[in-house]
Each structure stands twice: as structure tokens, then as C-alpha cells.
């Protein structure tokens, strides 16, 4: 856990960070967000005392960092920077082991760990350990940069726009990899970014800075749904509602326990079920409940026969674990107002409608 208490930094007459109070719970990713010069980087660098605070306190797991030796403190905090900062004169292996070596760990143990860490980020240890940084691509280098910060297993990780210099496609991949890693390792992460999309994707909490002040500190969905002022609203963008789509899972927005028919059912039964629920179509499932097709009310009404003989293929399916962004994209793509939702095995779990999504997003606005 990291606590900042009335943390302030002034350079001469300018106040870069102005009485910031915040707390990052253990195991969470806190993204410091804001335009350049807003104090987010200065705030982060005060945590490992690369910049000494003018006043205020920083406590890590309850211990005041001011009482500790700077160097000892930094060795217990992982640090990743945008320029990556791998040492070109050292091999990948030696780069990863910088902090373990500084701490005087057993060399064999730290070298073995370097290999394990590399495979965590999908880099083959046998290929990469003995290479030099210049022999790696930018994306590979930043993976090593992240791994290097984790080498001594620090509880806290500071990341200064770590993926900012990487091309958009690779950035997504590395972000995903990092989130997977973080889900397993549960580090307390302070992450500086100026990219709202990145923040929404990575953060457990977002701290928005302006002119050295912390102006909003909340969960990503709250920041998007209830920006505290027009500055935050502008910063998160006019399309902030669309960004929220990414934060909500299909499972949370779908209607579950939906009506369904099987291939053996008659069309009369299908029509009756639809009329009962006020639907214009109904999903046909297989014998064990997998979504197999759809029957439309206007085609089924007044006709005879079984569902199996008269169904059409499903126009679109989303997984319950997908986010709403994907669901909406698929609705537009297939020109549908609803989609069938299935779990990982393909079992029919529910359906999601445009109205339902609109309602869900609208409901939280109503709250405020």
C-alpha cells in the first residue's frame, strides 16, 4: 500500500505538486493521468525519491520513506521508464539481474530467475539471455524493461509512460501481457500515462492531475461516468461514454435465463414463447444447450413444421467475457439490435440488446 500525505514539491516559485493526498491499495494499478506538466511524473518520482519532496509524506506499507536510505528504498521499488533504459553494454541477462546483483544475491539463483522471468513475457530464454539490447526490437526491449523491474520481486512498481514509445499494435499486445502478469503477481503499481484509453484499460483507479493538483481520484468507470468538472470531462473526451463500453462485460449487461427452443419444438411453440416475452425472434439451442440458430416471429407465424426445419443461422454471437465495445461493434457489423451471448463452451447464456446497453450506461448518469 502506498499513501501520499499532503505531498508537495516546488521548484523555486512554481509549485509542481500541490498538497496531494491519495492512497493506492496493495495489488492495485493506479494510473496518474493528465496533460504534460501537470505534476504526475514529479509525483511518481517522489515515491522512489528521484525527486525529493518539499513537504508532505510518503508511506509505503505504513513506513515513512523519508526515514530510509534513498538507495535502499529504490532497490525495493521496481522502475520502468518510457525510454526503456536497458544498459547497452550489458547482456539481457545482466540487465535483468542489475538489482539482484546490487542486492548481492547469489548469481546462479538470479540468473536462473532471469530466464524464468523472460519466459513470462513470451521471450525464449535460450535465444535472448545472452543477447545485447541493440539486437532486440523495441517491443522486446520494453518486455525486458518490465521484467528487469520485477527481478528482485519488489512489492511496488513505478512505471513512467512505459509503453508510450511503442507502436500502437505492439502497445496493445504488451499492455495485455502486462495485465496478465499483474493478475498473477499482484504488485502495487503506480503508472504514469497521458493516454486516457491506456488508463481506462489498465487502471484499478485513475488519478487525474492538473497544475500540480489531484482533481479526481476514482475507479475508471466513475471517472468516465461522473467527471468532477469540465476539465476532466474534456480530458477524458467527448466520447467518454463509448470508452465506458470497454469497462463493462457482456455478462453484466445481458438478460440472462432467456427463453429458448430446440430443433424438435414446433413453430407454434416458438411463436407462443416469443409472444409471451414480447420478442421478435428466439434462439434455437442444441440438445445440451449450445446456441445453434434463430427463428424469427414474422417468418414463423402462421406456418407449420418444426424449429429445426425453419431456423436461420445466428447473425452474431458474443462471449459473456467480452466487453460491451465488442458487442456494440458486432451489432453494427451485422446490422442487429440484439446478440446471443454464450460462455466459453458455447452454451447459450443470455442475450444483449442495444436498448439494454443504452439503459445501463444511462442509469449511472441518472445517479448523479
Amino acid at each position: 500500500m502506498i499513501r501520499l500525505e499532503r505531498l508537495t514539491k516546488s521548484f523555486g516559485a512554481t509549485v509542481a505538486v500541490d498538497h496531494v493526498d491519495m492512497e493506492v491499495p496493495a495489488g492495485e494499478v493506479c494510473v496518474l493521468l493528465g496533460p504534460s506538466g501537470c505534476g504526475k511524473t514529479t509525483t511518481m518520482k517522489m515515491i522512489n525519491r528521484l525527486i525529493a519532496p518539499t513537504s508532505g509524506k510518503i508511506l509505503i506499507d505504513g513506513r515513512d520513506t523519508a526515514g530510509q536510505d534513498d538507495v535502499t528504498l529504490r532497490r525495493s521499488i521496481g522502475y520502468v521508464i518510457q525510454q526503456i533504459g536497458l544498459f547497452p553494454n550489458k547482456t539481457i541477462e545482466d540487465n535483468i539481474c542489475v538489482v539482484p546483483d546490487l542486492l548481492g544475491w547469489d548469481r546462479r539463483r538470479s540468473r536462473a530467475r532471469a530466464g524464468e522471468l523472460l519466459s513470462l513475457v513470451n521471450l525464449e530464454p535460450a535465444t535472448f539471455l545472452k543477447r545485447y539490447p541493440k539486437e532486440l526490437s523495441g517491443g522486446q526491449q520494453q518486455r525486458v524493461g518490465v521484467v528487469r523491474a520485477l527481478a528482485a520481486d519488489p512489492p511496488v512498481l513505478l512505471m513512467d509512460e512505459p509503453f508510450g514509445a511503442i507502436d500502437p499494435i505492439n502497445r496493445e499486445v504488451i499492455q495485455d501481457e502486462f495485465m496478465k502478469l499483474q493478475a498473477a503477481l499482484k504488485k502495487t503499481v503506480v503508472f504514469v500515462s497521458h493516454d486516457i484509453d491506456e488508463a481506462v484499460k489498465m487502471a484499478s483507479r485513475i488519478a487525474i492531475f492538473r497544475d500540480g493538483r489531484l482533481i479526481q481520484y476514482a475507479k475508471p468507470d466513475d471517472v468516465l461516468a461522473h467527471p468532477v468538472d469540465s476539465f476532466v470531462a474534456d480530458f477524458v473526451g467527448a466520447d467518454r461514454t463509448l470508452k465506458r463500453l470497454r469497462l463493462v462485460k457482456v455478462a453484466d449487461a445481458m438478460m440472462s435465463e432467456p427463453p429458448r427452443v430446440t430443433a424438435e419444438d414446433t413453430l407454434e411453440r416458438a411463436v407462443a414463447l416469443m409472444e409471451e416475452h414480447g420478442h421478435v425472434s428466439i434462439v434455437m439451442v442444441g440438445p445440451r444447450g449450445r446456441a445453434r440458430g434463430v427463428v424469427r416471429l414474422d417468418l414463423a407465424r402462421g406456418r407449420r413444421g418444426t424449429v429445426g426445419e425453419n431456423h436461420e443461422p445466428l447473425p452474431g454471437i458474443v462471449a459473456v467475457t467480452d466487453d460491451l465495445r465488442k458487442a456494440v461493434a458486432m451489432m453494427f457489423q451485422h446490422d442487429q439490435t440484439w446478440l446471443a451471448c454464450v460462455d466459453d463452451e458455447g452454451f447459450y447464456k443470455g442475450y444483449i440488446t442495444q436498448r439494454g446497453i443504452t439503459h445501463l450506461l444511462g442509469a449511472t448518469y441518472g445517479k448523479s
Binding site: G85, F87, P88, N89, K90, V99, Y132, L158
Partner: protein
């Protein structure tokens, strides 16, 4: 460059050496030069001792000064000192030797002082330039990971600047070896004795017996430090490999 000698240049060099040999033979200078063999061996030894002493002194003094110039806390002093060093490199070698003589008089101390001074400057300049060229974010990363200033210098800054530092030493030592003959004028030993006496006596064989080994020594030292540069600089930051 020494390690990847282009074949054309190697050929041109051989051709040049051959032409020189043929010329000397045609002039009947070779036998006359051979008569100076004993002197040459003796003087080359003195030449190398003088170059080695002044070179070692210059490295021992120049690298620490170069490091000092780039330290954050001496920034103001460093900027001023860098100006002085820059100005120093503009001052002609003969003038430096003359100044050394006005201070120490005629003799070995002047020679060593003068040679050290002019060997020092390129070393200081390159050490400082090499250290300044180390990207700031590497130092920042090192600091962020908890390295102490000494560790940053030894593990990050110097290894990454080593190529440029050695390039400075290479130039400086070649100049050093090449200037030893001039130092003879103010009381040093070495091959200058044959060259200047040869000029004064209008004795081409004597002159060449001094000039050719002097040229070869300079090229040899340049080549040797080039090899060291290839071998010593870590592979990740060595543009030669």
C-alpha cells in the same frame, strides 16, 4: 578501422612502401641508413620511454579530469574548464613545447611536461564528450534502480563512453609518439636527434633513418590502440563488431 582495413588501402599502402623502398635503393640511401641501425635501436627505446611516460601521465590525469568535467555538482566549473581545454587544443604543439621550456628550461622535465600537456587535451575532451553522450535516461534508470553514483559511473557511464574515450586515447597517443621528435629540441631524447641533425647536416640518410621509424611508430601505436578499442569495448556498445 584498423581491424577492417579495406583491401584497396592495404594495396595502396604496400605500393607506397614499395615505391619508397625503390626510391631509397635508387638513391643509394639504404646502405647509408643501415649504418645508423645501432643508433636507431637505441633512440627508438628512448623515444618509446618518453612517449610511454608522458602518455601514461596524460591518461592518468586526463580521464579523471574528463570525468570531473561532467559531474553535476561541478557543472559551472566544468563549463569553464571545457572552454579552457578547447582553447588549449587550438594552441600549436610547438608553442606548447616552447612554453614548457620557458618554465622548466632545457631538459627532460620540459619534454615530459610539454608532451603530457598536449597529449592530455584530446583525452580530456573525448572522456567528457563520451560521458556526455551517454543518454540521460540510462543514468536515470540506473538511479531509479538504486545504483550509487560510483556504481552508475563504473557500470553504466564509463562502459558506454569507453569507445569514445579510447578513440581519444588513440588520437592522443599517436600525436604523442609523433611529437617526441620535437621534444628532442627542448631536451628530450628519441628519434628527433637523427631527424634534426640530418636536416642540419643535409644528410638525407640520417634524416630518413629517423623519419621512417617515427612514422612507423605513430602508425603502429594508432593501430595497437585501435585493436584495444575493438577488444576492450563491450559488444553491445562497440560499433566495430
Amino acid at each position: 578501422m584498423a581491424a577492417s582495413l579495406p583491401s584497396f588501402s592495404r594495396f595502396a599502402l604496400l605500393a607506397l612502401a614499395f615505391a619508397l623502398g625503390a626510391f631509397l635503393q635508387a638513391q643509394g640511401l639504404l646502405p647509408a641508413m643501415a649504418s645508423y641501425r645501432g643508433d636507431v635501436v637505441y633512440l627508438v627505446r628512448g623515444h618509446m620511454v618518453l612517449a610511454a611516460v608522458s602518455g601514461a601521465l596524460a591518461i592518468a590525469i586526463g580521464i579523471p579530469i574528463g570525468i570531473l568535467l561532467t559531474r553535476e555538482r561541478y557543472r559551472v566549473l566544468g563549463a569553464t574548464l571545457a572552454q579552457v581545454v578547447n582553447l588549449g587544443t587550438t594552441i600549436p604543439t610547438l608553442a606548447i613545447l616552447a612554453l614548457a621550456m620557458t618554465v622548466f628550461g632545457l631538459g627532460a622535465p620540459s619534454a615530459i611536461f610539454g608532451l603530457t600537456a598536449l597529449t592530455l587535451l584530446p583525452i580530456v575532451l573525448n572522456t567528457a564528450a563520451g560521458l556526455r553522450a551517454v543518454p540521460r535516461h540510462l543514468v536515470e534508470a540506473a538511479r531509479g534502480m538504486g545504483m550509487r553514483p560510483g556504481q552508475i559511473l563504473l557500470q553504466v557511464e564509463l562502459p558506454n563512453a569507453l569507445y569514445v574515450i579510447l578513440a581519444g586515447i588513440r588520437t592522443a597517443l599517436a600525436i604523442d609518439v609523433g611529437t617526441v621528435p620535437l621534444a628532442f629540441l627542448i631536451g628530450g631524447g628519441g628519434l628527433g636527434e637523427l631527424i634534426f641533425t640530418g636536416i642540419d647536416l643535409n644528410e638525407p640518410a640520417m634524416l630518413l633513418a629517423g623519419a621512417i621509424p617515427t612514422a612507423l611508430l605513430a602508425v603502429l601505436v594508432d593501430w595497437l590502440v585501435g585493436l584495444a578499442q575493438y577488444a576492450l569495448v563491450p559488444r553491445g556498445v562497440n560499433p566495430l563488431r
